[in-house]
Amino acid sequence: MLSAVDMSERVRSGENCEEILHEIYERIRSSELNCYITLNDKALDEAVQIDRREGGKSGCGKLLGVPVAVKDCISTRGIRTTCASRILNDYVPPFDATVVAALREEGAIIVGKTNMDEFCMGSTTETSYFGPTLNPHDTSRVPGGSSGGSAAAIAAGETIIALGSDTGGSIRCPAAFCGVVGLKPTYGLVSRYGLIAYANSLEQIGPMASSVRDVALLLDVISLKDRRDSTQVKLPPSDARTNFNADSVLGMSGDDAISSLKGLRIGVPAEFVHGISKDVERAFWSAIHALEDEGASYEEMHMDTMKYALAAYYIIAMSEASSNLARYDGLRYGLRLNRDDDWHTTFSRIRGEGFGEEVKRRIILGTFALSAGYYGRYYLKALKVRTLVKREFESAFRKYDVLATPTMPMTPFRLGERIKDPLSLYLVDVNTVPINLAGVPAISIPCALSPLPVGMQLIASHFEEEKLLKVALACENLMNAHFL
């Protein structure tokens, strides 16, 4: 499949994009994977406009003519945005998220809105009101989640690149399970304006693609500085429009990336490799050894606070979620049932019928955690753990350039295997959530594709996306040699 880097280059130099978009829609139509909730019915018109250089399409743009899939928790003007929930089944936003406006400005074409766990709450894409997405590598298995639609669409050629969002692993988990690349940026790098909140203090929108370079290019486009997001950090230089420039990554050859591995210090936290499945263990360590062969050194080390991370993560995420989701009452937008009573009864009925089981579970748990008498015991304690986790990462990065872990402790499991047991499902996030607590960037790249995909997670210090992507680029080149 064509890369976004190559395709935009070709379209800029005059080639057409409509045909490729056609092929993509053909593939979507004949697909059984259920990657999309809503398709953009104007996409082909936009492609034709680009090909004819009409409608102000100037012929430049970093993503000119490139099909992009957008996770359905990201607001798109004029295109239904459901968060995979019945409660937003008919919601068509009147505004674009900042990242979507950036995509459009750079000439990208939005293919459609991808399936996900309802309100991002899940790691399998099974909690979607619109049914699960299937894993393209084995349709009896889950694609991971919550950005499962985006990852599966890339793996199945139903888009070229995609946006996901990552609250506790929602980009990296499906990237690992579907054998693609996905990056969770540093908290504050990308504007969250227009991202429908699950847990505001943890989540970021991030790029997903089949290659590291495409991920870098997409990150460049979406890291636009935005004064509408107060939590976005405005990185120097202050006059630059974006927080991240991909040029140095895009300009680096695979060989140069590999040779830059010399002297790289890699930390492998024991807590992340303990109790992982055999397949994952084999793929992960062979990747580490491949890096070692190129002059990198690794060391197993310990991160003591990790044992508290999962619990702290779920308390913070559910607490914020319980408040974020209070707005869905059917009064201004969203689900309306055909009987109205007093507002109290009506709100309760709409929320009772509009939210799925997992969403209700998390709202109730989060409400409980914030309640008088429990706030100090749960929420405040979780915030303290977050501070400790962050500190532990910071001190690790004084010693190591990057940390490497398996993204997921197992390979993709079967549909329905864990969905009835919430606790076992929460446990699969154990390697991804500490990264969100610390706010550091992390990328998942494939380190095996058969029998089932395995992802390796590389973690860097705050705002070190460039370093992270260069190491990932080296790994990618090494892995490609291995896979072949």
Partner: protein, 477 residues
């Protein structure tokens, strides 16, 4: 109601700040008279994915309020979510403050005029910033309407919340305190008390160490006094009948002037406060505090002291003239042109009395009468060209219909009559009232008042009663 032993009243006063845009979005805050739901955007409608951004002007205004109320300004301030469901609340939570408000531990002095201690210090617990919810509109009345409409134009208007310690002892003190707060906010130029619903108050009250009752939704100064008086009477009566006062929240029904118990469900709220994750901590550094302090104008108490020394006014007049910044400014403009003490009498006593009678604010009145108009009226009066009664007439007509003093004096023939004319009128009255003249001559002094009255009647009020009396005395005694 007098000074109630053991009555403790605390107030939470919410005042809308006069910013151009709302607290967390760019929508215009000039929402009154706008079509419902036209001053809205994704942020103040709480659409999924929209994020708040703090309006720094609102923050500066709130800091100024805290400084003027002598609070300790906090160097670090944070916004919190106050979670509860209500149709006027588009996100299901209100962005407010909790720990780390803008100001703590302030105080306000009020003049209660109770003799032995005329001045009372009311402690201010905290000053913080929060957003106004939308507005519910009940077609018909609350109890009869079948549905409610919601207008989100008001959603997101910045409110400064001022919370007192339970230092107020009577409903009257509560009213005086709120008038003082209004005065201070208007002095700062951050508030317009003339706007409907610009200030809303929740009150809590306990009697004789009993349980605290909260009264919500009071929207006028008079309402506060009435609601609290009602509540004191209600609680007294309950105690007299041996009933126990329980901690509860009541709702003030302005039309009926009574407080009504709210359903338990509606007030037993656990607001589950937690820091708003979409906003960052704000640092208020010393240089910002210093620059805002420098912008704070002379406050009512200082102005009063200056008026006393600069214009040699009595404290009654000085207070009356400085309660309202608009009256104070009006007075100073007039007093710079003409006798300050005469100006004080005519503005504090006459003009203010006429405003009270009309329930008109000085801000409103200034559209009809300017300081220049007032100077003209007082100049005519001082020069003896119009009588006092005529001057009052001119002021009244200007407040009711506008116009200019000269035109009104001319049209209504209010210019004082010449001595010749007055002498003729006095002669006529003497001829026409033989009985009264006889009474006077026989020593019944009150007949003189009657004769003066007759002169005034004959001249249509244009005569100067003092002159008329003098002439009558010369002729008859």
């Amino acid at each position: 109601m007098g000074d109630e032993k053991g009555v403790k009243i605390g107030l939470e006063c919410h005042a809308q700040l006069l910013t151009k845009s709302k607290l967390f979005c760019g929508c215009s805050s000039d929402y009154r008279n706008a079509k419902p739901n036209t001053h809205v955007c994704p942020v103040c409608l709480g659409l999924p994915g929209a994020l708040p951004v703090i309006n720094m002007q609102a923050l500066r205004y709130a800091i100024k309020v805290a400084i003027a109320l002598q609070c300790e300004i906090q160097h670090k301030t944070l916004f919190y979510r106050k979670n509860y469901f209500y149709p006027d609340l588009p996100r299901g939570f209100q962005i407010s403050q909790y720990d780390y408000p803008i100001g703590l531990n302030g105080k306000v002095s009020i003049e209660v005029g109770d003799g032995e201690c005329g001045e009372r210090i009311i402690r201010i617990k905290r000053v913080h910033l929060e957003e106004d919810p939308g507005k519910l509109i009940y077609p018909g009345t609350i109890s009869t309407s079948k549905y409610v409409l919601v207008d989100y134009n008001r959603s997101g208007i910045p409110l400064v919340e001022i919370v007192t310690e339970p230092d107020l002892r009577t409903p009257r003190e509560a009213r005086i305190f709120l008038a003082k707060i209004r005065s201070i906010l208007e002095y700062l130029g951050v508030f317009n008390g003339d706007l409907e619903g610009a200030m809303r108050v929740d009150a809590n009250i306990s009697l004789g160490g009993g349980e605290r009752v909260e009264i919500k939704n009071i929207s006028s100064l008079k309402g506060v006094e009435r609601a609290l008086s009602y509540e004191i009477t209600r609680q007294r009566n309950m105690m007299r009948r041996g009933m126990k006062i329980t901690q509860e929240t009541r709702f003030y029904d302005e039309e009926r002037g009574v407080t009504v118990a709210m359903r338990t469900k509606e007030f037993e709220q656990d607001y589950r406060y937690f820091p708003e994750p979409d906003l960052v901590e704000i640092r208020i550094d010393d240089s910002l505090i210093a620059s805002l302090k420098a912008e704070i104008p002379e406050m009512p108490d200082e102005k009063m002291r200056r008026f006393i020394s600069q214009y040699s006014l009595g404290s009654e007049h000085a207070r009356a003239l400085t309660e309202d910044i608009h009256i104070a400014d009006f007075y100073e403009a007039v007093a710079s042109e003409i006798d300050p003490q005469m100006s004080a009498t005519w503005i504090a006593d006459v003009l203010k009395g006429e405003l009270n009678y009309r329930d008109m604010s000085m801000r409103e009145a200034m559209k009809r009468i300017s300081p220049n108009d007032m100077v003209r009226i007082l100049r005519y009066l001082k020069a003896g060209e119009i009588a006092e009664r005529a001057a009052v007439e001119v002021i009244r007509e200007m407040l009711d219909h506008g116009g200019s003093p000269d035109e009104i004096i001319k049209r209504r023939g209010l210019a004082r009559m010449s001595m010749e004319e007055l002498k003729i009128a006095v002669s006529e009255v003497i001829h026409e009232n033989n009985a009264a003249v006889a009474d006077l001559k026989s020593g019944r002094k009150e007949a003189l008042n009657f004769l003066v009255g007759q002169v005034m009647k004959k001249t249509g009020g244009r005569a100067d009663p003092k002159e008329a009396r003098k002439l009558l005395e010369e002729r008859l005694l």
